[in-house]
Symmetry: D2
Amino acid sequence: MSQTVAHDDLSAFRRDLHRHPEPAWCEFYTTARIVDELETRDLDAVHYGPEILGSERMNVPDDDELAEWFERARDAGANEEVLAEIEGGYTGAVAVLERGDGPVVGVRVDIDALPILESEEGEHVPAGEGFRSENEGYMHACGHDAHATFGLGLIDEILASDFEGTLKVFFQPGEEQIVGGKPMADSALIADVEYFLAAHVGLDHPTGEVICGIDGFLAVSHFLAEFEGEPSHAGGHPEQGRNTVQAAAAAIQNLYGIPRHADGPTRVNAGVVGGGTATNIIPEECFVEGEVRGGTTELMEYMDEKATRTIESAAEMHEVDVDIETLGRAPSATSDQELIDAIAPVAGDVEGVTNVIERDELGGSEDATYMMQAVQDNGGYASYVGVGTSHPGGHHTSTFDVEEASLDIGVDFLTAAVLAVAERRP
Amino acid sequence: MSQTVAHDDLSAFRRDLHRHPEPAWCEFYTTARIVDELETRDLDAVHYGPEILGSERMNVPDDDELAEWFERARDAGANEEVLAEIEGGYTGAVAVLERGDGPVVGVRVDIDALPILESEEGEHVPAGEGFRSENEGYMHACGHDAHATFGLGLIDEILASDFEGTLKVFFQPGEEQIVGGKPMADSALIADVEYFLAAHVGLDHPTGEVICGIDGFLAVSHFLAEFEGEPSHAGGHPEQGRNTVQAAAAAIQNLYGIPRHADGPTRVNAGVVGGGTATNIIPEECFVEGEVRGGTTELMEYMDEKATRTIESAAEMHEVDVDIETLGRAPSATSDQELIDAIAPVAGDVEGVTNVIERDELGGSEDATYMMQAVQDNGGYASYVGVGTSHPGGHHTSTFDVEEASLDIGVDFLTAAVLAVAERRP
Amino acid sequence: MSQTVAHDDLSAFRRDLHRHPEPAWCEFYTTARIVDELETRDLDAVHYGPEILGSERMNVPDDDELAEWFERARDAGANEEVLAEIEGGYTGAVAVLERGDGPVVGVRVDIDALPILESEEGEHVPAGEGFRSENEGYMHACGHDAHATFGLGLIDEILASDFEGTLKVFFQPGEEQIVGGKPMADSALIADVEYFLAAHVGLDHPTGEVICGIDGFLAVSHFLAEFEGEPSHAGGHPEQGRNTVQAAAAAIQNLYGIPRHADGPTRVNAGVVGGGTATNIIPEECFVEGEVRGGTTELMEYMDEKATRTIESAAEMHEVDVDIETLGRAPSATSDQELIDAIAPVAGDVEGVTNVIERDELGGSEDATYMMQAVQDNGGYASYVGVGTSHPGGHHTSTFDVEEASLDIGVDFLTAAVLAVAERRP
Amino acid sequence: MSQTVAHDDLSAFRRDLHRHPEPAWCEFYTTARIVDELETRDLDAVHYGPEILGSERMNVPDDDELAEWFERARDAGANEEVLAEIEGGYTGAVAVLERGDGPVVGVRVDIDALPILESEEGEHVPAGEGFRSENEGYMHACGHDAHATFGLGLIDEILASDFEGTLKVFFQPGEEQIVGGKPMADSALIADVEYFLAAHVGLDHPTGEVICGIDGFLAVSHFLAEFEGEPSHAGGHPEQGRNTVQAAAAAIQNLYGIPRHADGPTRVNAGVVGGGTATNIIPEECFVEGEVRGGTTELMEYMDEKATRTIESAAEMHEVDVDIETLGRAPSATSDQELIDAIAPVAGDVEGVTNVIERDELGGSEDATYMMQAVQDNGGYASYVGVGTSHPGGHHTSTFDVEEASLDIGVDFLTAAVLAVAERRP
């Protein structure tokens, strides 16, 4: 396979995104930058704005926060026309390229960043080479800058190829908070996709290694429980308070005690708590932000139903109100052997690939699973593939980085996979 | 009794302090301002700096916070020489006036303020008349500006009187956080005090009402428990975490369950909690800030010992470390009938006093009790007296205010009380 | 005062009852024996059976247990005619004696025993002198055998006196389980009582001491919470169980954490728990038997309402059912000073009385309070009086005993009190 | 294969044992009966008494209970000489048969029964045919009567065969309480065993089905935590109690909250609880009987260590003592493929076998795993095999029964397996 896209272009694009990391529903600069690029290509459609999100978005930041990120994108030079369409947090984009009668192949790449302060050390390449995050306290610490680059490069390679069929590339917002996958999976754009690939870089695999099918996604649901009671003076009138900290403590004790399930692994965590105002005031407000997981979607739902019951009963017990919000959610998913069988034979021929792994386990969560599930429910096939990169720091740490040789490998591997799938129609 | 101190001087001094409210161990401007005034009087000694604090101070703010308040005091024009002595948070002052062979009478007034945002409404007098807090977010919302004024006015009146004996006025820092009473009670300056009065304004009594002896102080102790565990990914390795939120929840559940005591009322409150960083991380750090109280000092100590055991066992249970710090503490105390018997007969003659109450109950906590106890332990007598003021908002609210007619009443009532006590030697 | 009733008769009667101790609603022998005696006196009415219980009885034993005690009473020679009227547990009796126009005076004595195994040691008088309990495992360990004797002796003394008025003696069942007071207080027989005395022997006062008015009754309510869930194999299918032990543990943790109340003392205790069948079965059934108390009836009701909410929410939390039954209940009460003022002056003249105490505190619970309250609510006066007895073992222990000299003192003290009250009409 | 042992003998022996079911460490009749039979055979050694138990026995009944079962065995006609050796609960036996130079093959059969009341219904064969349990309330409800019969029949068949090697048959006591496996595994008798088979009847497999290797044993540990505190009157002096029910509740809440483990399934159950004496007494004693399990021995040990810590910390928290006893324990184990490969080919040839299953999952716990592990640790091989029987009621129910045709199949299958293993030396 001949390389169409220049390494320098891939690198430049990735570094531009790396300098502008944005969290869920705030990917204004990122979306505008991607759309700008797409609109210079010979594509059949570039979708963005509310139309690409087919159901209500979870956990949208408040207006002030949205406005702050919007202004920041504008200040960084984002395209005003695009910005106008995505104001209010309707981020993400979908590119469509139609070439004849072949199958519809979908590829998902995610584009959001994390609330992590990026390392300033010289040996951290983005710091050393001048493309460290300009949004202090936020960082592309999971390689989504590379993912978006894979998406753009893939389009260029397919444009230059003899591909027959339809390619849809989904640039998904809000994966880190598992909020973007569901509305994209609920959009009309996914309805005709027959083969679907989602891609991730790194995952402790070195540059040169690719994985044809990843499984072991724990289904997950994030919740925020906000308790509201009644304050009173803890010395003068303890009986007049309705104590949210007591309610939260009862909830937490019993959340961790939700029965284990014979059908597979389950998880629960009360990850963040906070409440109360002073030692001498019965605490009026308290929150618990947490999550439940399951080895299957059913197991996650079992945990979620129990967690809701536990929290509500704890509130009832202490006569306080509670409001439980689902902050994000992702089902489990399985990569189809049919797709792996199509991809694995060609993966070894990709330039730079030194090791092809058929299947691996993720052991974490991802909301591309919503899209995988939607395609599979429609009778199609899906696989979650991996592109190794020798990353110095772990994912979600301040020194994570992508070795840029893997940009080319990722683009070529995805191109080879899309072509193989389209040709062999498993 | 003829009035020596001009109302306008009292009002001006009180308003100056009101504009510069400062929290515990940060009363730099207030202390400097008081010392400035004292040094213009014909006193036998004015003590300030470390010498007036006879034991370790609890809950001192960190260096940054101390430095910020220090600079703010300097910017507001505080006397540099005084500031140099009290740097690092050695706030408060003690004035000594010796006149012949009479008894040693001590009077305590407190000087610190609260972290409350003062009302900007025109009907709130400090806002309407231009002496609203200049330290945004802090406020003299409990009348300690009036208390300091009482202390200064009392000195002037006693200087002008035929008082025989020694008067010591203790300008105590950090009452709101119950941190200043103990070190002042442990200083050598209190050792020879035979009669002791502490004063408070308001307490829901209108201007014109005075109380000769207040009781019903709940002994109290504030604690901060900081748990430290081990983070781990809640999905990937829940067993590798050492979960501080779980430990805190177990502690809270069992803190409220400390057995009631047959000897009198007890209290416990986990007033503020916080911990964790993300829904998917087993929480590494968590804190619980709370308090215990008792109808007597022994009951408070019973609760405190149980609370410590409960928190430490909860930490042990979940394999996390915990550090428990006492943030503040105050014993219970009782006003001596002997002093009340001396004061009550003269109180009605004070100009402006329309109603004399012999005894009342506080139902809250105060750390003047440490000083009362020290004097009583030495064989002396102590009483906690009240000066009514018609306050529009409640104590510790943004619209609390002192009706300034009560400044004169307070000064005269305390003067009458000191003279009565010195003359009659109960 | 001349003694009408012979000591030997009092002793014989008391020892007969002592040999036949019976628990709440099972006082078949005791009731029949009392009625037998009453029917030989010149009384105006002897009431027994359902008519003396004006509301539903709490915590009645099941049919088997009632039948067993019934047969035991029959075997011991109880009067068959009386037995027929009280079958099913309608125990207790009320004697009425009318003598002219004077006031209606009520006196309550209780008649039930405790589930305690009586000492067999020779120095324990009932064992040594041959009147130890014949109902193995049950014992008059609180002196109710003496109380019933007081009631009978009082009637004889009043019959022989110049008393003018109406005397009603209430032989109350089920005091130990605080179940008999309420239905007796709800009967029509109490409606016209103007002065009311309840009596207790011992209470750590020696023979010769009498108390004219006892207070400090904690209001109390006993509850039984029975949880019912679903068993399942703890290894094979933990998720299929609905775990009652988990629910009970959550309830217990939070019961002890019910907020303290500013208005006075409160208490809570989960005194008995039990549940589950095997280590490897998720426990299907569990019970918690407990109590709440308060310094006033309102405080007890506050605790009771919170306890119910806590238990029900804990059941809801763990998806199990719960049934909460009130096993017994007693309000608080206060002895009227008016009655004490009438009784105290004559108490010292009673033969054998060496010390008269006006008021004392009980610090426990009693359900004579229901009757005291009923009389007071009707505008009458009530007092709870004490008759000292030098008891070797404490109340509710296997070596408790009544020094029989106090039988005469009790009878004479109550007679003097009834006469004084009737004559002086406070 | 020709059948050596007569069906009627097998049936008679099994029915004799069935009439005399005995629980762990009380298998006096059973042991004596087995030894009687063994001593009539031409064996090289018959071991019984303390020598066959190589480590301390867990959960031995108290002396009274042992004595009661001992007398019952004597009354049923057990051999006095054998009884004398096993008095005190040293039950079980090991038969050794040496035939030349071949390998040492061990077979384990268990012999104890369950505390279950056997059905009296006519359609329950033991009731209908007159061999229902004579030890009321106890029952061979898991087929160990058949297991012991397998062991005896196997010896007879091997005696009649051309077997070369050494056969050791372990008649293990106390499997139901998982107490007998460990001391037998720790005895010297197992040290030279190279191939080891444990057998179980039923397990929902019909007569005619055999399983060559069973896995999926959850490692398990049973514990008994006994809390001891201090009683006090719940109304009068709640603060003087040390409350074991509160401690147990805290323990239970947190036991269920032990973190899940990424390495596999874990379990915890507080299966039985009990404590306290009266609603008005702070409960002095309370116990929790429970268990932990794990998919591997390591996971069970993780749970066990956490459970111990949790219980001890809960006791510490409430100032009570706790004693934790391990009641029984069993590790996990895996059947060796090498043995399955040897057995499976010959299993189909056994008369009556209609279906051969290579591997199956148990999903429960067993303490033959201790012996399997001991052999494997010594470099040998082990497998847990199954002998189907069409049982009308489930295991551990009052209508469980063994179809006696499976007695012959079990004997022949084990014989074939032992011969195959000895010959092929995998």
